[in-house]
């Protein structure tokens, strides 16, 4: 088929050329649709435990989401005048975004530091990050009181440029685009669009560089959101360094998430993984654990400095103080040590447990900021506790994301099975570059070829 199209495109006449391109595009598009419909059928067994548990929840959740959209925010939700941000922002966004942080950390390691070792896990991580952002953006959408205005900060129905949230919103959007570009070569490989893949992968590095800058800012921006809640946050949690703390913790949160996700994927998607991936897997995990141990220690160190600097001894014997100690010692220092010993003695299982503990710690930390240490002075009866509907909707968002993740992994070369033609292209390109030398003039040559 492709051959025929190509013979059409040789046509000299400008108009015919344009027309034929249009026809070509339409054909591609129709082909894509047909493929998509064909591919929507599930691969593998249908009656798995995962499906049986998640499907009913997703269906119920979808129903709840629809009713939630029509009857105002208070419908089946406990957000209140005292707690304007409930589980959708306080959990889905506050926790989901740092968990998706693995994508920018690994992009940094692979593309910037050129540490090839981690290349095999990069695609899965970026895919995860991208999906996470798409779904947490939808969580924000659900939580907006005036949903039809969501485009205002983007289309410029007034730019609140002095707002941290404005910045976060924009960076979310841009980062989603950047991540999509980073992942897109995999889509092109799946659809066998060789030419497109070449173009897309030439954009990867740029997307990564800006993706990292954007991540730095919105990861810390999430923390900066609480800077004006000064008198509402418990003094043990309020510090001018919240943005830095959020940034550093997004590194180990993301890496831990990659470790846990890899452990599960290795069971579920083993058939999709390349030899190379499976062979290097342990080494990769140990390297990640090292990263976690270091960043957790930096975080712990920062926490101690801030604690001493803030003269916070007075609060430590109160219930909130003890809760603070649980968070800092139990969920930062202990996993830090576990990671350290895990990577030193190559104990993969210890590393896995440490990753789970770290993730739990990050959840606790973010929930502290949005719910527990936030308005800590209110009695329990006035505090925010999510309703079952809110929890079901949250689960629906997470499960749908997993379903899509599975769908993509089962089709696209996510875990290393890059098709031969793409590999060859890469090699070719490397050699070609070496020949080309440093001059721009020669560089132009390359593009005339295709």
């Amino acid at each position: 088929m492709r051959k025929e199209f190509e013979s059409i495109t040789i046509a000299r006449n400008g108009l015919t050329l344009a027309l034929s391109k249009l026809v070509l595009l339409t054909f591609y598009f129709i082909g894509f649709l047909v493929l998509l419909i064909k591919e929507l059928k599930p691969k593998g067994k249908v009656l798995t435990a995962f499906n049986v548990i998640t499907l009913p929840i997703i269906l119920l959740g979808t129903y709840l989401i629809i009713t939630h959209m029509f009857y105002g925010l208070s419908h089946g939700s406990n957000v209140s005048q005292d707690f304007p941000w409930g589980i959708f922002i306080g959990f889905n966004v506050m926790v989901g975004v740092p968990f998706a942080g693995g994508a920018y950390v690994l992009a940094f390691v692979v593309y910037i530091l050129n540490a090839e070792k981690y290349h095999p896990i990069l695609r899965a991580t970026i895919l995860n990050g991208f999906l996470a952002y798409v779904f947490y953006a939808s969580a924000i959408f659900l939580d907006l009181g005036r949903k039809w205005n969501i485009l205002n900060p983007i289309i410029g129905n007034e730019f609140g440029v002095n707002s941290v949230l404005f910045l976060v919103a924009w960076h979310f959007l841009l980062y989603m685009i950047a991540q999509f570009i980073e992942f897109s070569p995999a889509i092109a490989e799946w659809l066998e669009l060789k030419r497109l893949r070449k173009i897309l992968s030439s954009m990867t590095l740029g997307a990564c560089v800006f993706g990292i800058a954007l991540s730095t800012l919105h990861q810390s921006g999430l923390g900066a959101l609480f800077m004006m809640a000064k008198n509402k946050l418990h003094p043990l949690w309020y510090t001018e360094f919240i943005p830095v703390l959020f940034f550093v913790s997004s590194i180990f949160a993301g890496l831990s998430c990659v470790i846990v996700e890899g452990t599960i994927s290795k069971k579920v998607f083993r058939h999709r993984m390349s030899e190379e991936y499976l062979k290097n897997y342990d080494d990769i995990v140990i390297g990640l654990a090292r990263g976690c141990a270091i960043t957790l220690f930096v975080y712990f160190f920062l926490k101690v400095l801030i604690f001493i600097h803030g003269k916070s001894w007075v609060y430590i014997s109160s219930p909130m103080g003890i809760w603070y100690l649980v968070e800092v010692l139990g969920f930062v220092l202990i996993p830090c040590l576990m990671f350290y010993y895990g990577q030193r003695d190559r104990r993969i299982n210890l590393i896995r447990v440490a990753a789970l503990v770290t993730m739990l710690g990050v959840i606790i930390n973010r929930i502290n900021y949005s719910m527990i240490a936030y308005k800590w002075y209110l009695p329990l009866s006035e505090k925010y506790i999510p309703t079952w509907q809110e929890i079901v909707i949250t689960l629906t968002i997470v499960f749908t994301q997993l379903w899509i993740f599975r769908w993509v992994v089962n089709r696209m070369p996510v875990y290393g099975e890059v098709p031969e033609w793409a590999k060859e292209k890469e090699l070719e390109e490397e050699e070609y570059q070496a020949e080309l030398g440093f001059t721009m003039a020669n560089g132009g040559q390359r593009y005339r070829d295709y």
């Binding site: 009857y71 105002g72 925010l73 939700s77 005048q81 005292d82 304007p84 941000w85 940094f108 910037i112 530091l113 050129n114 090839e116 924000i140 939580d143 009181g145 005036r146 949903k147 205005n149 205002n152 900060p153 129905n157 007034e158 730019f159 609140g160 440029v161 002095n162 941290v164 949230l165 910045l167 919103a169 924009w170 960076h171 841009l174 685009i177 030439s202 954009m203 590095l205 740029g206 997307a207 560089v209 800006f210 800058a213 954007l214 730095t216 810390s220 900066a224 959101l225 800077m227 004006m228 000064k230 008198n231 509402k232 001018e240 080309l436 440093f438 001059t439 721009m440 560089g443 132009g444």
Partner: protein, 288 residues
């Protein structure tokens, strides 16, 4: 390194970068800084307030909200806060100096946290002094998180909810009238005027009636100054006023972060691209 490669990186990033520059460029603008032009405010003299709650009723009336039954004295048994249906409330405090009533509502800060929080500028500090809300709000409720006085409230029960808070009767002020509550107060506990005038008035009352007032004007410096000012015969902290807010305008807590944005957006990409090519060269050398 190939210049062409570098160009590609630069170009594909440029799109993203240009759009982020929108966010960063204007960060340095001083819009949130107080306007130099004089603006209005209201002086609340708690020694004159008798707790009749006519201000509550007239406020509700002029904002088309359910009108409270002001004969009902049972509301005083607990401390109330303004909410989405009552934009101002009067609280009673039993002290050794007798009953003291305190009217509360939005303080109309000189540099409001809610305005700095809003990502679509639905919250605006008007040049006349009031802080108002507009329909382009998207209901994110970040203003509720960021207000030091915990004032903005959201209509959760509506599918088309609004942020509700006192707007100092912006419509009335701009047509030359005084706010509804000020107009109906039978005891002149509320005084409307330019902030400079009412500040002077407050000082005058404190100095000319020795022993009546505590020597403090609440709102003069709190969070950088507010358009509502309070004077009282009883220590403010015992009347449920927040005394720990400090004198720093709330928006300033985020400026440090916002200032770092353009710096990071410019330096990071350059820095990262640099490292990328350095490590790439080194990798090549090792391979050779």
């Amino acid at each position: 390194m190939k210049r062409r490669e570098f160009l590609k990186v630069a170009l594909s990033g440029l799109g993203l970068f240009a759009s982020s520059a929108i966010c960063s460029k204007t960060v340095f603008s001083s819009e949130i800084k107080a306007k130099t032009k004089e603006f209005f405010g209201v002086l609340v003299d708690t020694t004159r307030c008798i707790g009749c709650r006519t201000c509550e009723a007239s406020c509700a009336e002029s904002h088309s909200l359910p009108i409270p039954n002001i004969e009902d004295k049972s509301v005083f048994t607990k401390i109330r806060k303004p909410d989405e249906k009552t934009l101002t409330v009067v609280n009673r405090f039993l002290t050794e100096k007798g009953e003291i009533y305190v009217k509360i509502q939005c303080m109309h800060c000189n540099q409001p946290g809610c305005v700095a929080a809003c990502l679509v500028k639905a919250m605006k500090k008007r040049k006349e002094g009031p802080v108002t809300w507009d329909e382009n709000c998207m209901g994110c409720r970040y203003c509720m998180v960021s207000c030091p006085f915990d004032i903005p409230k959201f209509e959760y029960d509506e599918a088309f909810g609004r942020i509700m808070k006192c707007d100092m009767c912006y419509g009335r002020i701009s047509s030359g009238k005084v706010p509804a509550c000020v107009e109906v107060c039978p005891k002149e506990a509320l005084t409307f005027g330019t902030r400079r005038d009412i500040l002077n008035e407050a000082k005058k009352r404190i100095y000319q009636t020795p022993g009546l007032y505590v020597p403090y004007i609440y709102g003069e410096n709190e969070v950088g100054g507010t358009a509502f000012l309070y004077i009282s015969s009883y220590p403010f902290e015992k009347l449920n006023f927040q005394m720990d807010l400090g004198y720093t305008p709330y928006p300033e807590y985020t400026t440090g972060f916002l200032y770092s944005v353009p710096v990071i957006l410019i330096l990071w990409p350059a820095f990262l691209t640099g490292i990328h090519y350095l490590t790439k060269e080194r990798k090549k050398e090792i391979e050779r």
